[in-house]
Amino acid sequence: MNRFSYARPGSVADAIREVGSSPAAKILAGGTNLVDLMKYNVERPTHLVDVSRLPGLKEITETEGGGLRIGALVTNTAAAYDPRVQERYPLLSSTILAGATAQLRNAATTGGNLMQRTRCYYFYDASTPCNKRVPGSGCPALHGVNRIHAILGTSDKCIATHPSDMAVAMAALEAVVRVSGPRGERGIPIAEFHRLPGDTPERDTNLGADEVITAVDLPEPRFTTHYTYLKLRDRLSYAFALVSVAAALEMDGGTVGEARIALGGVAHKPWRVPEAEAMLKGKVPDRAAFERVAERILQGAKGHGENDFKVELARRAIVRALSQAAAGTPQSQTDKRIQ
């Protein structure tokens, strides 16, 4: 690990000043990803701004219309088991519990989870080129070991995926990321928070370099009965998704009122296709309808060799997740048998 100076600001305003003080400053919260990356010399901050004690960011509070504001420092454990989250956003609770381990969830924070970086092997291995780590150095994953890589929204610079489970549920729920910076506060809709790699894969998010995440706002509760988070991975627990699907339906009698479908493990950000979701509106939720939706979501999906299987896996996962959601039988995150 490189050497760095350390600051523990006492307020969000001080934190913004500290993080803006150097282009190589980094924010430390739970540390579960940043410290790991520092050990691999992938992240080498010269100044570490420890926000883990900032007052007021560890709470889950009510917002107008029955929504919840999850403070940026609320741990993944605290968010997943909060009775209000479980009752109003069971999809989010279930999704968080599908990720990582109890130890990691106890330390990892809501803001940090959004800021975690890809687990692309080449990004993590500082002895190889990587456009995300060193812009312009190349992307060995394009023609290399790419079983875990993206099939949608890729560029010829980067085919990494975003590893978060939590963000996938937040995408389906249309959460808003609250951030604070020198120019004040703003809300970034989750769909615009993470970026596609394009020509600048080094930028994962649209968070400003001098901005700090303060909370995630969850809108008025919906999708509390017909939802599921289906996560497919190489082992049954503590593995990143090869493909995951957050599906949420609002049922209107025997037909679908509104549908939300977000995919994880397939792109540089949680993947949503609103036009595909709209195809379900007013339709009887049956397999044929789900297959058409899956087809539309995966339009243009393309493997890079080892991950070719993900296109078919994603198609089946979407159909299965929508079936689970329609039946009101969410995937258990303990009993991994897929019904």
Binding site: M1, N2, R3, F4, S5, Y6, R8, S22, P23, A24, A25, L28, G31, T32, V35, D36, M38, K39, N41, V42, E43, R44, T46, H47, L48, D50, S52, T77, Y81, A100, T101, A102, Q103, L104, N106, A107, D125, A126, S127, T128, P129, C130, R133, V134, S137, S237, Y238, Q333, T334, D335
Partner: protein, 181 residues
């Protein structure tokens, strides 16, 4: 700790800023196994390295050093975490319990330690301190009731000898006794 400069290899992210502001050691107060310790810590020292290298508490093990194996699990303010991924400075003021702090003052083993012995829940023993601290955290959290739930909630602790069956039995035993209280 020697101030080693790592060789520059292809692909290292360039340092964008200067490193002229390198700090002295940072004062940190931790209560470790009930004993208050006033320490001076370099900011890049992990809690795991502080425990082992500076405080000579070798019970907590370094396995992968990347949060993947769980052998470094300790309880911080009663919650299980990977001490390899926690910077010691960021845990200033916290209470840390390691495997050395589980037995009572009279030397009586913690019920989880007893259960691990009773069920022969280890072979080589390297993962055991982490398993036991993790299991104590699991019981306190209260989210596991069935063997399947124990397995899921213990997925952050790897046992390469494969003593999982007996580990699950040991934890189940403690959970049953706890719920009978």
């Amino acid at each position: 700790m020697a101030d080693l400069e790592l060789p520059t290899r292809q692909g290292f992210a360039p340092d964008a800023g200067s490193t002229t502001r390198l700090p002295d050691e940072v004062p940190v107060t931790l209560t470790i196994n009930g004993e208050r310790r006033d320490l001076h810590v370099r900011p890049w020292t992990t809690l795991l390295d502080l425990l082992r290298e500076d405080l000579h508490l070798y019970g907590t093990k370094k396995g992968c050093d990347h949060g993947q194996c769980g052998s470094c699990t300790v309880l911080v303010d009663g919650q299980r975490i990977n001490s390899c991924l926690a910077l010691a400075v960021s845990r200033d003021g916290c209470e840390v319990t390691t495997v050395e702090g589980l037995a009572g003052p009279d030397g009586a083993l913690h019920p989880m330690q007893e259960a691990f012995i009773e069920h022969d829940a280890f072979q080589c023993g390297y993962c055991t301190p982490g398993q036991i601290c993790s299991a104590i955290g699991l019981v306190k959290e209260g989210h596991a009731h069935t063997p399947e739930e124990i397995r899921e909630q213990m997925s952050g602790n790897i046992c390469r000898c494969g003593a999982y069956t007996n580990i699950v039995d040991a934890i189940g035993d403690v959970l049953a006794k706890e719920s009978a209280k």
